[in-house]
Subunit: 439 residues, 2 copies
């Protein structure tokens, strides 16, 4: 093998990071592979208007606005789809596979939605599909699941998969400021999108969880079937109460194999302060995995950013190039399992978890009695009642923690509570994440 | 491919764990590979006397006391060398490669000493060599370096690679008891060997560091050239003083690329309490990696134990089997780099680090003055002097921290200090680990 040619589609953050890593690490990449990776074509809709940048690090590459031209190039063996979204991206990936090219993508949404179908096409066409960059940026979590601990059966995993949400929550914890102020600051600094919904409403983490679950458990789960809650209702007061319980609050994405199937959830949860997951601060990502035999493993790193994500794309390009170079027919499944089983998540309502219920009320006698009566009616046992001093009686936040109870009982009880006239808002119910190893 | 046959040599902890994982996860392994892994032969010197155990999970396998018989079997495509040591193990691995078999090994000592030569033989013979289990048991750190972050250049790494030492240090921190008592307890519980030297004198961690450095930097370093210090001199008092400095004490193994080459060290060091590495407790292992582009990644899990190490062996068996199944010629280098560069570590003496110097003295006036004069003579600046109250004046432990100074200056100063008559023992000098990311 004298070289493998690469085509890069998309010149945003990830495309630029990829081009920079390919340039700066060219020597080390060739030393590992035994041949160089050469960027043969770069495609961007705005390539003609673009200011000097990473594309200029590869002056010998064709520059084009037309991805079809890039895909058709005989000297491009691998296409890196770094466009994002699901419409054009899907067309590009399908066209590349149809043209006999292997594909590397960083596109979580596309893979969560259509990864299994794309892999079937790739396998049929005897080309490779790789996607390490689609989950948790610079953390090689898919490689770990697919190769490093492939011999184990995963029982459960919990991840912090959205850096923007984690940044907002850890800043809220540190500074005691509300979500709005921190979000605005994050937007001004470019850490958060002007439309923050994908991040703070949990949809980004949900796509990543669908990919992790496919790789860890061999099951295809449509992302829209995964229950999702965002962090908009979390406030500094929740960190105050969580702290009193020895916990903190994080947006977690979790999957757990049980007798009635795979239980999946994205949402804010209380996690114990003495777990290693609780120490994940700022925009970092992390994944904790529980294996049947290998027990706990934990992976941590940058969840986003041009260079860390670029490293993931380049590592995939190398793995694909190595397979092409060895002239092995076909490729290994990017999901670890050769075929994914279609799967509906286990009914979320049946899961039994301890819960944290936070209320805001106009204080008057009989409130605890009224709430406790509703809990009793749903056969939910009260664990503790916490009330910080120093709050306005007209807007009093307090917390009831309850023993393990079915999620649907919690939902029914909080729905019934919402009709009580002393409540200023619907109760906030957060599960206490269980089963994480203490460090 | 209808199946790949495996031969297991060695029925100790790792061999037994491997056989158990192969049995219990057989279905999931076949689902991932597309064909089963079949144990075709099991070799142990004492196989005839052995009580019923994991070998019985594979009743169809040949049982033999003669590894040559196992290696010669035509239905064995991969040999797992799980014997340990370097004499017989080397002979087994070389014979297997010569017979055209791929090899998976968990043998850190063998790979640290002879891994590069064995890989050259394997490459020449067009067979595979894999060794994930040789470093950090259940943590897929070699896979991460070789595949997951292959696109990056590693700048530095620091690991906690010896579970026994970490268990002793974290128990010392928690209970305030001396090393001897905790070691004895660990030996009684089977956590520590009756001869604990490999663990507590740092040799085990040194072998693992040599393998990590080869994989991360592409350099072959003879393990005996890596400076090593053990933990025998660490006492509860060091945790008391470290705590006052916002640090803890761990046996770390570190490698850092610098202008004068690769700097390597195994030894006890002070690490900041707010780093994620400081949260690694008990027998867990962890590796922190700093990449040029990917920034920090961190890997954590069980460093030993039959089942976690068995998962690593089985994951290697699967990767090797997949390559054999794809009929690709040759295999990827287990060291990430196709050829390792022979390398002498950078001279340790030139490294500039902050240090913690702990003294035990018979107290009298003028001690600080005498020590400070020697430090000044070696151009070492004092940072702080710490002295806990409540100690016996005849055996008074206290600490001087110094600003960044060359290691050889520290060594010269402490050697000169050792001749002072008020010192009860040679000063203990521990570096402050720098550059670790806070979490």
């Amino acid at each position: 093998m004298s070289e493998i040619g690469v085509g890069i589609v998309g010149l945003g953050n990830v495309g630029s990071g990829t081009l920079r890593v390919l340039h700066e690490n060219a020597e080390s990449i060739a030393g590992k592979l035994g041949f160089p990776l050469k960027v043969r074509a770069i495609c961007s809709r705005s390539i003609d208007e673009q200011a000097p940048g990473e594309a200029d690090l590869h002056p010998e590459a064709l520059r084009t606005r037309d991805w079809r031209e890039l895909v058709a190039r005989p000297d491009v063996a691998v296409v890196a789809e770094l466009v994002g979204g699901t419409t054009a991206a899907k067309e590009i990936v399908e066209a590349a596979i149809a043209a006999g090219k292997s594909v590397v993508t960083a596109n979580k949404e596309l893979i969560a939605e259509s990864g299994a179908a794309l892999w079937n096409r790739a396998a049929a066409g005897n080309v490779r599909l790789a996607m390490e960059a689609a989950v948790a940026g610079g953390i090689p979590i898919l490689t770990a699941l697919r190769e490093g601990i492939a011999g184990d059966r995963v029982e459960a995993l919990t991840g912090i998969l959205n850096g923007t949400s984690n940044f907002i929550l850890t800043e809220m914890e540190r500074r005691g400021e509300p979500l709005g102020a921190i979000l605005q600051e994050a937007q001004e600094l470019g850490y958060a999108e002007s439309d923050p919904s994908a991040d703070i409403d949990g949809f980004d983490a949900r796509s990543k969880l669908a990919i992790l679950a496919a790789t860890a458990f061999g099951m295809r789960i449509a992302p829209e079937r995964i229950p999702v809650e965002g962090i908009r209702r979390i406030g500094p007061i929740d960190f105050t109460y969580a702290e009193r319980l020895g916990h903190t609050v994080r947006l977690t994405a979790s999957a757990r194999s049980g007798p009635d199937g795979l239980r999946l959830r994205v949402g804010p949860a209380l996690i114990r302060k003495d777990t290693i997951l609780a120490s994940v601060m700022g925009s970092y990502n992390a994944v904790w995995v529980r294996g049947r035999h290998g027990e706990d493993t934990f992976y941590y790193g940058r969840g986003a950013g041009p260079a860390p994500t670029g490293v993931a794309v380049v590592s995939d390009l190398m793995a694909v190039a190595r397979e092409i170079g060895s002239q092995a027919p076909g490729g290994a499944s990017p999901f670890a399992h050769r075929a994914l089983v279609e799967c509906a998540p286990a009914p979320a309502g049946a899961e039994e978890l301890r819960h944290y219920l936070r209320f805001r009320v106009r204080d008057r006698p009989g409130i605890i009695a009224a709430l406790a009566a509703i809990l009793a009616e749903h056969r939910i046992s009260v664990d503790a009642v916490l009330q910080e001093p120093r709050f306005d009686k007209k807007n009093l936040p307090f917390v009831i923690t309850v023993e393990a109870a079915r999620r649907d009982a919690i939902d029914a009880a909080t729905a019934q509570m919402s009709r009580l006239d002393f409540l200023l808002e619907k109760p906030l119910a957060l599960p206490l994440e269980s089963g994480l190893a203490a460090h």
